[in-house]
């Protein structure tokens, strides 16, 4: 191809690309922001309405039973009988207390009384 023929093709550098202009006026900007805010508000409103009116999951409510109010009174203890101060019974009571303590404190193993651990295979050979 000759240079003359190439001259017909416009040089790429020379092509002036016309970029689309996005320049917005203040009024337009306000309209857009207001619209987006309104949309967001409507979306929120929709969610609230759906959550209130949509199919509700049936939650089984656990009934809280509050017990009726009782006044707890201690069981009246019968008065001690005349045997409570009887010397024989008092002695038995004390003996039982002492016996219970002795039964708990008793040492029924007494390791010191076990056999001493001595070597019973003494030899001087291999």
């Amino acid at each position: 191809m000759k240079n003359e023929e190439l001259e017909g093709i416009p040089n790429q550098e020379k092509i002036a690309v016309e970029k689309p202009s996005f320049h917005l006026t203040d009024k337009q900007k306000r309209i857009i922001v207001g619209g987006v805010g309104l949309l967001f508000f409507l979306l929120l409103l929709l969610l609230v309405v759906v959550s209130q009116t949509g199919p509700k999951t049936v939650k089984k409510k656990i009934p809280i039973v509050t017990p009726p109010y009782f006044v707890v009174t201690s069981t009246p203890t019968p008065p001690p009988t005349k045997w409570a101060s009887d010397s024989g019974i008092l002695k038995v009571k004390k003996d039982l207390s002492d016996l219970g303590k002795s039964l708990t404190d008793i040492d029924l193993s007494e390791p010191m009384l076990g056999l001493p651990n001595i070597d019973l295979r003494v030899t001087f050979q291999k």
Partner: protein, 263 residues
Amino acid sequence: MFSIVFVFLLCTIYQILNTSTIWADSQSSLSDYNKQYDLYRQNYSSYVTSKNKWLTYRTLDSNQGALINGKIFLKQRITVVTAYLNLLKERVTQSNGFSQEAKDLIFSKLNVEQTWLSDHILKYDSAATLNDLEQLSGQFEDRYAGVIQYISLQTAGEIISNKEAVLNSQLLDVINRLGQKLPEISASGQDITIAQRWLLQAQNKQELSQGKQDDSLTLFNSLRGVNPVTQYNQALFNLTESNQYLKEAVSYLTEVVKNITNQ
């Protein structure tokens, strides 16, 4: 008046001294046993070292070392057993549950063994070779395994069993006293049905406890075989069960008292 106070003071001082003497005896025999046991362990180490030296080098010097240390160790082994028998004797003396006849019988058995040991220990001084020592050691081991260990374990078992027997007899005494009291309480117009039931339960528990004690005594008196320690431990376990029954009986009797007194 002054003389009465003086006599009273003297009696009190005598009582205190008497009690502390028994305590001191027990403590001294126990501390002596511990001391001899410690010495035994030390001598055992020397014996093992010198024996290994002899077995390794087979020199005259190592032979003499083994002989000397072996003698010391074997004699100490006898001393430990003697101290152990002394400890048992002291404990028998202090124990309340033994009758005088039972004490005499145990003492005579232990004395026989102690006499044998005191005779036997003298023989070690005349041992001239390691073979002599081995022979003497064998005699001791036979005696120990055949007689001494059985008598010792039997005695130790009886000492422990007696402690439980004393408590059992105390419980029986309480049961009897309450049993005698109940008709008197009933005659006064008080209902004793529940108390009688608890008392019966306590009696049953006491009988079960007595049964376990009898089992343990039977085991203590029939120790035999290669490992009498196992039987000894089984007898001790029976005593533990007996103790548990006694505790339950005490609980029932406490309920009886509560029922009678409303307290």
